[in-house]
Amino acid sequence: MIQQERMIVVRQSEIAHHIFELTLQGQIVQDMNPGQFVHIRVSETFEPLLRRPISIANIDKETGEVTLIYRAEGRGTKLLSQKQVGDEVDVLGPLGNGFSVETAPEGGTALLVGGGIGVPPLYELAKQLNARGIRTIQVFGFATEEVTFYEEQFSTLGDTHFVTVDGTKGTKGFVTDLLEELKPEFDVFYACGPMPMLRALEQFYPNKEGYLSFEERMGCGIGACFACVCKTTDSTDKDYVKVCSDGPVFPKGVVQL
């Protein structure tokens, strides 16, 4: 169920250049699933006005804590990065439909592909897949070394490969360059990142089951305002989908890329 809650900041730190890891505590954590997101009001004033959508990166139901990883770039996320331990944050969530963990065959292998700030939701996903006995191969692309994060955390979960555009960490190039070289064997893939990456993956693995997480500018975040609409392909019976409430995760082939 979607709820609004004033969550408490329990930790916040800069884990890479302008990349922050924020842990919040509250009741709504109990309802969270991997791939879902929260809509955060970063200020009590009208500046900035709109909430910011951020993916759920780590869920700890025992402590009631959720971790978000975000890039502090614009006005809103910069304000969020200034929140101190003990501060309250107005959070609406959990929102949307996340990654379906159940569809991966038990004992099988899942390929996780992330680009930049699309990597965070794959962390909770990898954890939950591992817990179900599914092996994960993780391929992450970043612009440059200084914005990479969570190498250690991901390494404990599965084979982890980094790619950077400038070659400062891992292979030089894009995730698709590395995938071409690795030729990984897997049953299902999950991806979150920029459109060109998602498009390339659909073309790369036409016969594999796959799930893609999308980003779109949002207003309400709950399906009421039609801000975040994407066109669908002819293979679906819907004319459009809303990223906030029908997504952000869709099976491969649903959204027109």
Binding site: F46, E47, R51, R217, C220, G221, I222, A224, V229
Partner: protein
């Protein structure tokens, strides 16, 4: 709560607060968060004859204390709204104001005729900010003669009172208000969004795919207040005011300027519980002002 009731043509309002069209869909999403029977009324998303898929994205952009939107009147179309959306809303004890849009007079007439027969639709709100294809795309709401004729045509077929939603993108909003009153409008709702543009800092190009968008949110409130204030002086039909409302004081301001009720748009995105929160906060506001019934403050700026 009797001190918040308001009677308007076709509408028995428990309180003067209602979500504005396009900011509340057809109620389902917010209905999952709180009991919609708490609201004075609900203004549903614009309905057109056919399904509308709307504009390309990005459709929204944040601006100082506001936002631009170019949704493009996306809606499932008259038939589906009648078959699915309105019946779903019947479970709540709340009057529905149906926002009607189109590109020709015939479109408006067709939607108005059918949608006014839905049992829970107690009033129509004509969105005259739409481009008129027969008049070179100039919006219905910018020409007093065109606006008046449209109201007359819709009044002839509607079985419920007709409110007209004025566009602020005109030289003289009072002239349009008088024209729609002369055309037989039962009330006025105002204001719709102000046309604006935001540029991308790096490329210098518009952020919104459509180029322009409608500005809403706290930033537009002074413009809206001034317009309600002027229109109130010029017409004798009631006004439902809106534009940047986000708290009980904003409601008091709009009603003081002359609105009989108030709609809340963009603020729903900021705080999904804003409408019930405002309703709960109003009695204390009245107490502060030493007012027994909220009706007493309508138009007090002019007294």
């Amino acid at each position: 709560m009797r001190r918040l009731t308001i009677q308007l043509p076709g509408l028995e309002l428990k309180n003067p607060i209602m979500p504005a069209s396009g900011c509340f869909g057809f109620g389902k999403e917010y209905g999952g968060l709180y009991d919609l029977s708490k609201l004075g009324a609900i203004m549903i998303k614009a309905t057109t004859v056919e399904t509308r898929l709307g504009n390309p994205t990005p459709r929204v952009a944040e601006t100082p204390a506001g936002m631009l939107n170019a949704i493009g009147l996306q809606n499932p179309g008259l038939e589906k709204v009648m078959a699915n959306e309105l019946p779903w809303l019947e479970r709540f004890d709340v009057p529905i104001i149906a926002n009607v849009a189109g590109t020709t007079t015939e479109d408006y007439v067709e939607v108005a005729k059918k949608i006014s027969t839905a049992p829970n639709v107690k009033a129509l709100e004509l969105n005259i900010s739409c481009p008129n294809v027969k008049h070179g795309g100039i919006t219905f709401g910018t020409d007093p003669v065109v606006a008046r004729e449209l109201v007359e045509a819709v009044k002839a077929v509607s079985t419920v009172p007709v409110y007209v939603k004025l566009s602020p993108n005109v030289t003289d909003i009072v002239e349009i208000a008088k024209a729609v009153e002369a055309g037989g409008a039962d009330g006025i709702t105002m204001i719709n969004t102000l046309i604006g543009m935001r540029l991308d800092e790096r490329t210098g190009k518009p952020v919104i795919a459509n180029g322009t968008g409608g500005l809403s949110g706290p930033a537009v409130k002074p413009v809206a207040i001034r317009m309600v204030y002027d229109v109130y002086k010029a017409v004798s039909i009631p006004i439902i005011g809106m534009g940047g409302v986000s708290c009980a004081q904003d409601v008091i301001d709009f009603m003081s300027a002359g609105a009989s009720a108030v709609a809340v748009g963009t603020a729903n995105f900021v705080d999904p519980f804003v409408c019930p929160n405002i309703i709960d906060a109003l009695p204390a506001k009245l107490e502060e002002l030493g007012v027994k019934h909220i009706k007493e403050i309508i138009g007090r700026s002019h007294r």
